[in-house]
Each structure stands twice: as structure tokens, then as C-alpha cells.
Subunit: 254 residues, 2 copies
Amino acid sequence: MITIVLLGAGNVAKHLYEAFLPLNLVKVIQCYNRKGVQIHENQEGVFVTNNLNDLKEADVYILAISDDAVVEVSNKLPFQNRLVVHTSGSVPMKSMNSKNTRGVFYPLQTFSATKKVDFTTIPFCIEAEQEKHSALLETLASQLTKKIYAISSDQRNTLHVAAVFINNFTNHLFSIGSDICKEHNIPFEILHPLILETAKKAIEMNPDNAQTGPAIRNDVQTINRHLKILKDDSQKQLYNLLSQAIQTKYGKKL
Amino acid sequence: MITIVLLGAGNVAKHLYEAFLPLNLVKVIQCYNRKGVQIHENQEGVFVTNNLNDLKEADVYILAISDDAVVEVSNKLPFQNRLVVHTSGSVPMKSMNSKNTRGVFYPLQTFSATKKVDFTTIPFCIEAEQEKHSALLETLASQLTKKIYAISSDQRNTLHVAAVFINNFTNHLFSIGSDICKEHNIPFEILHPLILETAKKAIEMNPDNAQTGPAIRNDVQTINRHLKILKDDSQKQLYNLLSQAIQTKYGKKL
């Protein structure tokens, strides 16, 4: 049995709590958040506190809190030599206070409040100062998923940049598609299958092999016609820069 | 029974041929391409020609050929007053020769040679000069999918721009993610679930509501750290411009 104190009341904390709930090998024995509120409807017998001095002894303390708060909370913990991990994609493990032994338990996925999470599909990036704690975190993650990766703080930092391109920036391109449709009274749903297929194709055949479109074909006529259609400056700039980027990348290879 | 002469030997022609093959209501009676080659292993009894003068009489001639070739081939057709449609996202219907009655039969999806296509998930954009031909094209499309949209040439042109953002440019962002991983010895597969979830989320909750990340949070510290990690100029420029675009878009709304 791995006992856990779970700190935080955001999406990651809530989804982790729910995922741990049915497990026999894992028990969340306490939750902490600043307001001392329940984070799940089924919290019978799991003490919630807003006082770090009340934290119980556990095998692992999971700081599922905002990036900015990780260091501060790690400083305020009123104990030492225990395993403290955070769930952040971008905070270096060693930025946490060294009075405790440190680790990272980072689920690489985008979470939202409303959408149920299937942890079996989510990769966990694990890091720990001590070998035995890597093993413990791996055991913990293995209760949720088969996708477990040993990732250093430097690698995780890099992964986070890649994730910004793949999630945040991609979503912005989707939103531009949606705006263009709205302006011209076209239902955006017509593009839904293309969104899904674009993702699937990049996974199945590697994005470099999946690249198509006027930019890689150097189809100047189509590019110019598209630029004329775009009224918004930001959309125009992005169309230009992304087309250039594609031409630079694949032009080099030709 | 709708009889078809299918022109072209690319991905769209091949996938359409395969999709029409099992249908009772539809029959491809002839294929044309410049080399006069078979486009499918099962072409028994379907005459293939490389001579436009040999084209048989059919209910509809589908030009599933490259955008650049559509006008030229429409000019060269040795008959008139028949229904000629193309499958292109960006060629205006009326750019085809007016000696025939014209239409568009545009499947809005990205096709590749190797990947099998499930047409039931693919939206068809339909346009025709005459009402009765719109109805015929709708009947034809309805054999393949329930997603049928009447879309004008102007709207289709606009849709094509949106599709470039959603497919071509998004795929380039995925390829940047892949490059970043490669440089730092991180398996790209770790980001596969995020790619899929990003697409699903944009479909389920509208991309504007799904936007997250350092740009929309105006998390300058993280943005600067990410810019330091990026070595490639093109990646840096895109990171900057996409972050600005997100801030401009959602800054306005706040």
C-alpha cells in the first residue's frame, strides 16, 4: 500500500484523486488546499486541511498545484526527509526545497474540469533523487498507465516546449479555422473530421511524411489567393511565417 | 444507376474508385489518366484510356486531378452539355469550360496513398450549375457519407484556407514537436496522446474554450525560458508570433 497526501484543488489534483480512488494498492489519506475544500464528491474518511502543519505522515506528498506555487509550498512543508513530488511539466525537480527528498510525477496531458480522464492513455514522466523513489513512483504510475518514462528535468523542460507547439499553438490554428468559417457562414463541424485525421496521420506516419499543402508544393498562386482572402493581420502574418517555415524546412532537404 | 467516368490516377481518384466499387447504385464505367494505367487492382471490365477522345457517355465525369490540370482537361473534353465535376478544394466551378454543365464534388479530407479511407466520416462539399445536378451529386455523395454540404465556390475557397491552417500548418507544428524531441533524445511517442487529445478537445468544446498555455496566461517567465531552449530561428519566430497572436486574440476579449 502506497499512502499519499495530495496537495492542490485544480484539475490535475481532482483527476488524480479520482484515478487513485478505486485502487487497492494506493490510498490518498489526506488532501490539502488553501481553502480546505473537498475536491471530490467521494471524500468520506479522507481528511481535508488548509493547514500544512496538520499534514499526516505518508509515503509520498504530491504537489498538484500551480507551477508558481511549487517552490513556496515545498519550503513551507513542516517536515523533512520525506518524498515530495510535483506534477508540473516545467518546474525543475531541484528547485523544490532540499530538506525533503524530491521527485516528479508529471502526467503529460491537457486536463479540463469537465472532461473525464482516461489515465491508461496518459504518459507519466518520472524523476527522483533516489533510485528507490523512482521505483516507488513507477509502481504508483503503473497503477494508472503502461506509459511510464524516466525523464530528467532538462528533458521535461524541453518536452514542455514541444507540448506548447503541439497543444497550445495547434489549438490556436484550430481557432483561426473556426473564425474563418464563422466569418463566411460555414459550419465549423465540416472541418471536424479533418482535425481528427490530421492528428491521427501525424501519429501513424510521422509529421514530416504527412506534410502536404500549397507551401511544400511551392504553389505560389494558391498562397497568394489565400493571403487575399485573409482579412485579419495576425492570420496573414501566421500564414506567411508558417508557409516560409515549411519551405525552409523541406526546401533544405530537397 | 449513376454511371461515372473517373479521370485521374492520384490519391483522390484511387480512393473514390475503391469507395464506388461495392455500390449498386453507382458504376464507374471508365477511367482516364495520362498514362492509361490501372488505378485499382480490381478493374476488370472497366476500360482504362489515356485518350480523351475515347471517353464513353456517362451521367457524370469526375475530374479527380491536380488543381492545375482541371481547367485544361475541361477545355479538352470532346463533348458538351454533359455534367463535369472536379474534386478540388480551391478551383472555382466556373473556371471549367462552359461547354459542359459544371459542378463540384469535393471530399474535404486529407488523403494519403497508403491509408485506407472511411468515407462515412468525410464531409462532401457539393456545388452545381443546375438544381437537378445538385440533386444527382447529393445522391452520389449520399452513397458514401451522411455529411453533405451545399457550398459555393467562394465558400469552398475560404474553407480551403481554413483547411490549410487546420491541416498543413498544424502538421508543421507537430513536426516541430517531433524535431525538438529528436534533438533531446526524447521519444516522440510520448506526445502522441497529447496530439490526439488536442484534436478531440477542439472538436468537443470549440477551440476558443480549449485555449491554454503560457501565452494566454501571459506567463512571461515560462515564455522566456522556452525561447532560450529553442535554437532554431524559424521555431523561435513561430513561438513568438503564435504567442502574440494568442495574446492579441484573447487580450481583446478580456
